[in-house]
Symmetry: C2
Subunit: 290 residues, 2 copies
Amino acid sequence: MRSEWLDSFLVFSDCLNFTHAAELLHISQPALHVKIKKLEDHVGLPLYRKQGRQLYLTPHGEQIRAFARETRERSDLFLAGLRDNKQLEPLKLAAGEGSFLYLLGPAIKHFRKTAKFPLSLVNTRGTSIIDALRSGQAHLGVSALQTVPAGIKQTRLTVVDQVVVMPKAHPLAKKKTIKPVDLHNEPLIIPPRPQPHRETIEQAFNTAGVSLNVALEAGGWEMMLQFVNLGMGISIVNSCCHIPSTLAARKITELPPLVYHILELRDAWYKEANREMIAALKKYADHWKQ
Amino acid sequence: MRSEWLDSFLVFSDCLNFTHAAELLHISQPALHVKIKKLEDHVGLPLYRKQGRQLYLTPHGEQIRAFARETRERSDLFLAGLRDNKQLEPLKLAAGEGSFLYLLGPAIKHFRKTAKFPLSLVNTRGTSIIDALRSGQAHLGVSALQTVPAGIKQTRLTVVDQVVVMPKAHPLAKKKTIKPVDLHNEPLIIPPRPQPHRETIEQAFNTAGVSLNVALEAGGWEMMLQFVNLGMGISIVNSCCHIPSTLAARKITELPPLVYHILELRDAWYKEANREMIAALKKYADHWKQ
DNA sequence: TATTATCTATAGTTTATAGTTATAGCTATG
DNA sequence: CATAGCTATAACTATAAACTATAGATAATA
C-alpha cells in the first residue's frame, strides 16, 4: 500500500470533495481521482459512495482513514526520534531463574550475535512476569503459566517433563518411572508455598491421596539439586535442569509436563526486536533435549 | 517517507549488496541506488557505509530497517483484517462515577456524533483504572491520580476545586471560605477508607490538627449530596458536582484541588479512536464551569 | 421545463519521474 | 599489475503520473 495513496486519501476524506482536496494537494482533480481509484483497486473494496452529489466514506473507507492517520503519525514520530538521536530502547526479556539457566542460553547468545538491539534480562518469579509485561518493565516473557491472562499473547515454545532426582544408590532409582504413591514418606526437598512448582506438586499429591513429607523447603533448581546431592532428601525438578552425574533422574507420572510459552502483550504493534528474539527462541526451543 | 523506499531498503539491508538486491527487486542496480539515496536524503542521515568493498548499515540504518519491517507487517495485518471484515474494536473509556456524571457527558456526546468508532464505557474506581489500561480492558482513562505510574502517559484535562456542602440555613454557610478548623466537631458524610477522596480529606485534617467526626460513610457523590440534603451532616465534594439548590457550597482551604488527567498507555501506537476521544475531551474540558 | 452551476469520471496529451545502459572509479585478490 | 566485483554517476529512454478538455450526473434556479 503506497504511502502517497494514504496521504491523498487523508486529505480527500477530510474534504469529501475531489475538487477541493486536489487544490489542497496542488494537483489536478483527475490526478487525485486516479490516486484514490488505485487505492480502492489495491484494497479491493469501495472506500466511498455517492448520495446524489454528496460523497461519503464507507465503513471500510473510515477504517482506511484511521489507518492512514496512524501511519503518518507513527512515521513522523519515528523520524523525529531518529533525528534527535533517540537511543534505542533495549529489548527487555523477563523469565524465571530456571528458564534463564537451562532454556534460554543459546537463544540469547544467538540474539546477541545476530540482532542489532541492546538486550536486557529481567529475572522474575511466578506470575509477576505478567505485571512486568503490562507495566512495560518487560517486552517479552518466557514462562510455563497454566492460564493465559487477558491481553497477553502466547506462543508455545517447548514442553518439559518433571523428574524425580535422587542419589544413584537410592532404592527408587531402580524403577524406570515413579508414581506419587512411591514417594509416600520419602523426605522431599521442594520450594516454599507461593511458588507455582510447589502448588503443582501439592495438587498432584492431593489427587493421588499421598501426604507430603517436606524435608526442606528450598527455592531455585540449583539449590534443590545441591541439597539432594548432600543426601538431605529427594526432589522433583524440570527435566531440562542440569542433573549432576551423581544423581539419578526418573520420570514421574501424574505430574503434568510444563509447557513453556513466549508471552507478549497482545497488539502492542509488533516490535522488530520482539520478532528477532522470538525467532531466536524458537530456533533453540529444544536444544536442551540433546 | 515513501513506502517504496522502505520496501527497497528492506531488501537492500538483507543483501547489503546493491547488485543482488536490485536483481531481487527486478530493477537495475542504478535504479535501486537512487532509491536508497532518496531515502537517505529524506531522512537526512547516512544509512550505510563502506568498509573496503563491504557495505554495512549504520545504527540509523538498522533503525530504519526495523521500522520498515514493522511498517510492512502492520500494513499487511491491517489489510488482512479489513478484507476479513474484522469488526472495529470499540474504544473503551474508563473513568469513575464522578467523571462520567459531571465531567465527561458533553465530550462523550460529541464523540458519538462526530467519530465513527463504537464506544464502550468502563466504570472503575480509584487506581484500578491503571490496571484496566495495562490489561487492555480500557484504552483511555480519565482520573485525578496524584502520581503517574510507570508506562502511563498523562494529559492534563481540568482542575476541580473541593467544596463543603451544607444546608443553606447552616451557620457555616455565612462564611465565604471554610478552613478545616471550622469543621471541628461537625458531623461529616465522607466515603469509606480505601477511597482516595477519603485519604485526601484525612491527610488535610491531620495536617491541620483537626479530628474527623464521621457521621456517615457513603461512597458516590450523588449519595453524599442526598444525605446532606436529608440533614444528616455536611460533606466535602468536587465543585463540578451538581449541587442541589437547597444546599450551599463553599470553598475549603488546605484541600488541594483535583487535577483530572487523560490517561493512556505510553507508546501503544497512537490509535485514531484515542486521538478523536482526546480531542473531544479537551474540547469540553471546562464545560462544567459555566 | 429548460438552464445553469457544481462536481465526478474518463479520454487523450504532455510532462515528470523512474528506469535503463554505459562506464568511471574504487578495492581486494591472484 | 591485471582482473573481478562492486558502487556510483551520467546520459538516455520508457513509463507512469500529471495535465487539459469534456462528457455525464445532480441539484438549484429562472
